[in-house]
Symmetry: C2
Amino acid sequence: MRQEHKPAQRPEQSASERPGRRKSARGPGRPTSTSGLYAREKLLEAATELFANQGVAATTFAMIAEQAGLTPAMLHYYFRDREQLLDAVVEERLAPLIAGVWGPVAAGEGPAEVVHGVVDRTLAGIEKMPWVPSTWMREVLNEGGLLRGRVLRHLPFEKIGILSRSVAKAQAAGTANAQIDPGLIVFSLIGLVMMHMATINLWAEIFGRKAPGPKALSRHITGLLIYGLQPGEGRHCGGPMKRKARSRRK
Amino acid sequence: MRQEHKPAQRPEQSASERPGRRKSARGPGRPTSTSGLYAREKLLEAATELFANQGVAATTFAMIAEQAGLTPAMLHYYFRDREQLLDAVVEERLAPLIAGVWGPVAAGEGPAEVVHGVVDRTLAGIEKMPWVPSTWMREVLNEGGLLRGRVLRHLPFEKIGILSRSVAKAQAAGTANAQIDPGLIVFSLIGLVMMHMATINLWAEIFGRKAPGPKALSRHITGLLIYGLQPGEGRHCGGPMKRKARSRRK
């Protein structure tokens, strides 16, 4: 996590201080050049954390500044308004995650291979950005979600098309389940990962179990997507799906 | 839908009328006995519709009354406060749905049979109450969801246990996929149905396709849960999961 590498922090103005009353020679909220990048990252991190916990609509600039231990003026310096802040969250956080998840998907891969790669890279991304699943559920999948339009612009349609065509081709060859909708599978895949990650603590609480880690979740989710409840890897059966030996996740 | 059977409507007080200024001999907001049940249903329907579209937190009593074409006083007559209204939504709407979905699950059923039954009954319930999926996503699965605690009290742990044990037993017998977590499968199952139903219009819009109906969705979801991407029903392969001939959904 970013906060582990804290550089020495310079004293910040109190949160109640208003730009107009500022005695500093710098412009309102303007950071020193050395602290700039760090403060901006800190503000984005505070924003994403609050968005995950309480949603975008309920999160004010004042809350974000307080969470980051910085002034609202600082926040306004880096992000003119909420629109610009939301742009930054999507452009600088979610879009790179999406690109990282789908980028390696290559034409010609079988469905199982795509599923393994996408599930594992999504889980790895969530490990670095634990705020993603609940924000995805609330602000992308929900009707009226406040990041929906922005995220949709970053959907990698070409890569999603590779998965769909791969499933359709395998179905035509009789090596994939004809019941699966090759168009819907991408929502099933991403939805399962986000839903399980967003609710894993709830699940653990309800059933009095330890929340499974990403490895165990990957096993469950890829197992479900590739073999369903049918006996999977162990069985000997005609037309098994091709699957590369996959590298172990760290 | 309930609104199709509209009885003759009696004239309602304007929404701006306040109980204190009421000239009626009846108590504030108190309905005539014949219209009572209908008005209460109408208010619950308005509330659930608004909850689905914008969430519980953003929905005021005034909005619900307006949506129902009744007075806020009427709403306050039937539901003292928001807590009581939320109780009613869960006790009278979600709890019966959950009971209807899980009630028929019987000990001794195989995993595939349980999956088929639960998926199809959930989809049938959602057809009658289209507000459920987005409310489930937002107010039950989300961190801080405002119906979470209330819904958890109605989870049918005994029936969920039947599914878990059924999967574990089949795994021990080598007839179910050992990668599946028998505890997590209930979340995968319900989550897949709710997520696909909550996002089906979004999906249709993104990919320029017609939203699949419940039959097509059932096929996709049960196909995925039972066979995964592997070739399903058609293949001949050792240890297939037992599955009853299932009755066709209407």
